[in-house]
Symmetry: C2
Subunit: 406 residues, 2 copies
């Protein structure tokens, strides 16, 4: 077998304690021993990042974003040092680097920085010496040497970006599940691991609530065609390949069902039906950082309308406050909120060319006597907002209906 | 009052929790508000460094020193970020830097690196903008951008070196005691806080067991004549000034009594009285990293001698092993060990010109019926090894005898 260059990314749960770090080291060393070049990207140990955020919250309500990055980037620095030590113990040559040391240059948007360029000279030099190169995920540095972080799930982005810059043969994303499933196996035990999935499908899955990989990193992988292998750090089984186009002859209609219970619904009743009102509402919400997901507006009788939208639950209180004050200002009616909702979605590149899929989905839910409150569609997905208590029933019924259980 | 530039160093106990960090921020902000420029050097929070060392110990017995520095340097990085946030909360402009960012360049001796040069441009630039500059203590970076640490107590060194490079008006070392005392107040309640002490006296005190300041940092302060003010971070009282020459007219004979219970004694009996034997013994011990303190050799009858020396207790097991194998090799007799010893020392620049001090010390111990096992002297100190159980009695008697209690 020819020598390969591989980028392996291990998430927080894969390095949650010393024993797991040693397991990761063993896996890396084994791959290295076969004569391959390995670059490892590591997240912070277990809940370290959350603990640091809590600590900052005890000091101040409004931490400066620059100092937040200074603080949070220590988490990954601890991981890379410990993993290097674990590899040394296995007599495997290895060296660790921070994002700054390895030359991951970003813009100045602290806490959500974008990678501008990566200088891979240092990595290549160390690989040439026969060493495993361990890079702290999630972090970079501005041209002025200020430490930045790439946002939640940023280690995935580090891995994909390095794989691209190094022209790696593969980018392995190690996690605590075996791969990407047709749906959450905790809800539907019949869920099947997918052998492969396209970037587009994975993007829909990621943004719709499947928390295996960060959406931005999949976008980058898609853009530069980086083959990704999502697999478990606790087993030797192969996982799911994320690729440009599925190698199957005919695209299946639906490839996965996702569920998101993390949103709440806000409805403004009797909004005057005038141009610019919707724009005003969502601009104000964006300004205070409330991220809006689905939006539905029905034109109704008497020149007024109802507007409903969903927000992430942490943004609900802020969203309601803004919305109520705006409703008053524009002369709208009552503002309603509903936290007991769930978003159920079906995803699949095949549905592009099969117009009957939506009707099939709605019919399946109707058969279960589940009322649909909001609908939203994209090229390769259809999402319905339903009452939360029916979420699991809906997932199972759709999983069955679209032939994913067989 | 003219504008001053001050370097303030806060140790781990001063920033052990969020409340203490906020207290430190208040003190820094107050000083800044008076129109002064402030550079703050911070250690890791409380026991963070020890916790990280424990973590590394769980991964491997022999952590690489480069990776150890990568790991440990995160402790101070956390502190500086949190202190910056606390200052922001008080509406005090502040910015934090790692040792690398601020340009503290060291040699490549990981875990005990020496500062080669400091580029203060960045600090001066930020001070000009009216900001408090917070620098992570204990750490630096090699010209190749590898992170290094300066050894135990290294934050003191960072502070003194920055004070020198910035030509600061004063270097304040904040700690959990009110200053330097004539002896440990927990042993002798009559111990007095010294208003001032010379660099040389402080060096003796530091190396003899007073743990207030790292010896290397005092050496640097002495070399460049950096005025140091050791004081408490928990009170507004002034502490002890460490200076070149005491301003008092006549040097007092003895300025302090120190006690060190952290050593053990090893004796090799009947060592053949041949040249090179002692050199061989201490070279071997140095090679395995056992640090030897006092050495006493008595030439005796029959062309053989006894050699006694003290080692730090953590090195005792290793020291005994080496010594026993060497004793066999060179044809010496029994090897004895004694952990129940203590080192009591008197320190004072005045004793240089007063030859009777040693006799006075020995007489005082004799009066208390305390047997002296080993004696060692320097220009400005005299140390005696005695049985540990008499340590406190010895300290009190000497404190009284040399007039420190009045």
């Amino acid at each position: 077998m020819a020598k390969k260059l591989i980028v392996q990314k291990f998430g927080g749960s894969s390095v949650a304690n010393v024993e797991r770090i040693q397991n990761v080291a063993k896996r890396v060393a084994d791959y290295k021993k076969k004569g391959n070049d390995v670059v490892v990207v590591v997240s912070a140990l277990g809940d370290t990042t959350d603990e640091l955020i809590t600590l900052a919250g005890q000091v101040t309500n409004e931490p400066s974003e620059r100092e937040m990055d200074m603080l949070l980037s220590t988490g990954e620095q601890i991981s890379v040092a410990l993993l290097a030590m674990a590899l040394h113990k296995l007599k495997c040559q290895a060296i660790s680097f921070t994002g700054a040391q390895v030359g991951i240059i970003t813009d100045k948007s602290h806490t959500r920085a974008r990678i501008v360029k990566i200088n891979c000279d240092k990595i290549k030099e160390e690989l040439k010496k026969g060493r495993v190169v361990i890079v702290a995920g999630f972090q970079g540095v501005t041209p002025e040497q200020d430490i930045t972080t790439l946002g939640r799930g940023g280690s995935d982005l580090t891995a994909v970006a390095l794989a691209k810059e190094l022209s790696a043969d593969e980018c392995e994303i190690y996690t605590d599940v075996e791969g990407i499933y047709t749906t959450d196996p905790r809800i539907e035990p019949k869920a099947k691991k997918l052998a492969e999935i396209t970037y587009d499908e994975m993007l829909e899955m990621a943004s719709l609530g499947a928390q295996v990989m960060q959406a931005r990193s999949i976008e980058v992988a898609k853009k530069f065609d980086v083959p990704i292998h999502v697999r478990s750090s606790f087993s030797a089984n192969s996982g799911t390949m994320i690729i440009k186009e599925a190698k199957r002859m005919e695209d299946v209609l639906v490839n996965g069902i996702t569920l998101n219970k993390g949103e709440a619904k806000i409805t403004i009743c009797d909004v005057p039906d005038k141009p610019g009102i919707a724009a005003k509402i969502f601009k104000e919400l964006a300004l205070v950082g409330v991220s809006v997901d689905m939006i539905v507006q029905n034109v109704s009788h008497l020149r007024s309308t109802d507007i409903s939208f969903t927000v992430n639950k942490p943004g609900l209180a802020k969203g309601i406050k803004i919305t109520k004050s705006l409703a008053k200002e524009i002369g709208a009616g009552e503002v309603l909120q509903d936290e007991d909702i769930a978003r159920v979605s079906i995803v699949g590149v095949g549905m592009k060319s099969h117009p009957g899929v939506a009707a099939n989905m709605f019919g399946t839910l109707a058969k279960e006597k589940i009322n649909i409150e909001m609908i939203s569609t994209s090229d390769i997905s259809i999402s319905c907002i339903i009452q939360k208590k029916f979420a699991e029933i809906a997932v199972k019924a759709l999983h069955e209906e679209f032939g994913l259980s067989k």
